[in-house]
């Protein structure tokens, strides 16, 4: 068990250290969510005037929840990129050959993803508050919102790390990122679910990300709805993608010999 913790600590430390010291990694992961926040909350605010748009805290808060979860997801995705890069550089191979408890590698990377989101998520939150976002929620709601973000981050990290271990090249970046991007944007990003029409409405109704997003919006507004369902779905996803990541690790182990 101590050996496991040792590997976890080492991998997580390296992951977050690399993030912090290299501007080419940290800047995009901070700038992207901010930029989406600016473009959506700023550029589309008129959408709040669409008849039946009924989110009380306003459009800034409405978009903040999306960007909050998006930054959580991209904390995971960017960690997947880092894993892929480690395979390209040969570092991951060395890690596989030398780590006494290999399961710790996944856990380490995933914790790295969480720490990474700790940075980007804080920046996004501070900027949103500074731009005058309404927060009607109580402390309990806010804590639940944070927990929701953490679980969301975990799901994305397990997916990205697992897939990176299957593909083992940086060129797979788009393959890791694209599905996350699509799932996120197939949730009610710009308007509440009930204002969506057409095929996107049909898809969004079934999209698990929709439940997380709607729950987050409810929590921020201080009027939580369907929270249990959202947490249940996220918990289920974690089990699923953890199994996937384990298989990714196996496949990488077989390749590393």
């Amino acid at each position: 068990m101590r050996r496991f913790a040792f590997v976890v600590r080492g991998v997580a430390w390296r992951s977050i250290h690399n993030t912090i010291v290299s501007p080419s990694i940290i800047i995009p992961s901070i700038v992207f969510p901010l930029f989406f926040f600016a473009a959506f909350a700023g550029g589309l605010s008129k959408i709040a005037q669409v008849p039946n748009f009924d989110y009380k805290p306003g459009y800034t808060a409405f978009q903040f929840t999306f960007v909050f979860l998006q930054s959580a997801a991209f904390g995971g995705v960017f960690t997947g990129f880092a894993v892929a890069r480690d395979f390209d550089s040969g570092f991951a191979r060395r890690l596989l050959l030398s780590a006494p408890a290999r399961g710790g590698i996944i856990v380490g990377y995933v914790i790295g993803a969480l720490l990474r989101w700790g940075i980007t998520g804080s920046v996004v939150t501070v900027v949103a508050l500074a731009s005058g976002m309404n927060v009607p929620a109580g402390p309990g709601d806010l804590f639940a919102l944070l927990a929701l973000g953490v679980l969301f981050n975990l799901v994305a990290a397990l997916w990205a790390v697992g897939l990176a271990m299957f593909l083992r090249t940086e060129q797979a970046g788009a393959v890791i990122q694209m599905p996350v991007f699509v799932v996120l944007f197939l949730a009610p990003v710009y308007v509440p679910l009930h204002l969506l029409t057409g095929w996107v409405h049909s898809v969004a109704r079934l999209n698990p990300a929709t439940f997380a997003l709607e729950a987050a919006r409810g929590l921020l507004a201080g009027t939580p709805t369907d929270i249990a369902l959202a947490f249940g779905l996220l918990g289920g996803s974690i089990v699923l993608w953890a199994a996937f990541a384990r298989r990714g690790l196996r496949s990488a182990e077989r390749a590393a010999g």
Binding site: A38, A39, K46, L196, V200
Partner: protein
């Protein structure tokens, strides 16, 4: 002996041929740039349809309104491809090989953009076909569709000039990749998602007004949703031409100093 028998046109042709051949031998790399704008178009075209209910929104479907966006995103990808290709030539030293021939800098630049040009045309046709197939009518008709292709190719050319400029200045592909998000930002901070008069947040409205990308989009968009709108077209072609002239001009200056053989 190495007297100059080949004309400048032949030189441009030879470089362009290589650029095009290279592009098509790596067509796997084209799939993502082609697909990504279409996916966004498919999602946003529907997800933002509520925006049409904002008072003052033009009387068209949101999909028709959004069809201009893929052309712009495609142009951005063309810019990155052109820049990365050139940067790789600099990094590998292939550029030095060319610099030792009687080739002129301008010819090299134009030739290098040959691949970009072909990709830009192909992309524009695909976007147009997908748009029309998804039920968007082109208000300016068939002639307008041709003008649209011309405008979007000109825009792609202008952006490609920016890509080659970065490549020539910094000489490495990572710099080009790093600039890409900036291009993307310029697109998002424009009238991409809503007409400018419906952008409420003051700073955003100002940025979108001063952002030339807004006028490029509006030029393309006017052909799709308005018909023949002289002002929008003049602004669109004007800014596109200015972008192309400035970026290619700066590129050829950078090319001259990069090819600073004696």
């Amino acid at each position: 002996m190495g007297a100059e028998h080949a004309s400048v046109l032949e030189q441009i042709g030879a470089i362009a041929r290589r650029s095009i051949v290279r592009t098509f031998r790596q067509r796997g790399l084209l799939v993502f740039p082609l697909l990504f704008p279409l996916i966004l178009f498919a999602i946003n075209g529907s997800a933002l349809s509520a925006a049409t209910r904002i008072p003052g929104f033009p009387p068209v479907s949101y999909r028709a309104f959004a069809l201009a966006v893929p052309f712009m995103q495609g142009a951005l990808f063309v810019a990155v491809t052109a820049g990365v290709d050139l940067a790789r030539d600099i990094e590998t030293g292939f550029f030095n090989r060319l610099a030792l021939t009687p080739l002129r800098g301008g010819a090299l630049l134009l030739g290098q953009l040959g691949g970009a040009f072909v990709v830009a045309c192909v992309q524009a046709v695909v976007y147009l076909v997908v748009g029309v197939a998804s039920g968007v009518g082109i208000a300016s008709g068939a002639g307008g569709a041709l003008v649209l292709l011309a405008l979007s190719t000109l825009i792609a050319f202008g952006f490609a000039g920016l890509g080659t400029l970065v490549a020539l200045r910094f000489g490495n592909g990572e710099a080009v990749q790093a600039v890409f998000p900036l291009f993307f930002v310029s697109l998002f901070l424009s009238s991409m998602a809503l007409p400018r008069n419906l952008i409420k947040t003051p700073w955003f409205h100002d940025v979108a007004t001063y952002n030339p990308v807004s006028y490029l989009i509006e030029g393309v968009r006017s052909l799709i949703i308005t018909g023949w709108d002289g002002q929008a077209l003049a602004l669109g072609f004007g800014f596109a031409a200015a972008l192309a002239i400035i970026s290619l001009g700066a590129s050829s200056l950078a090319m001259r100093s990069r090819m600073a053989r004696t």
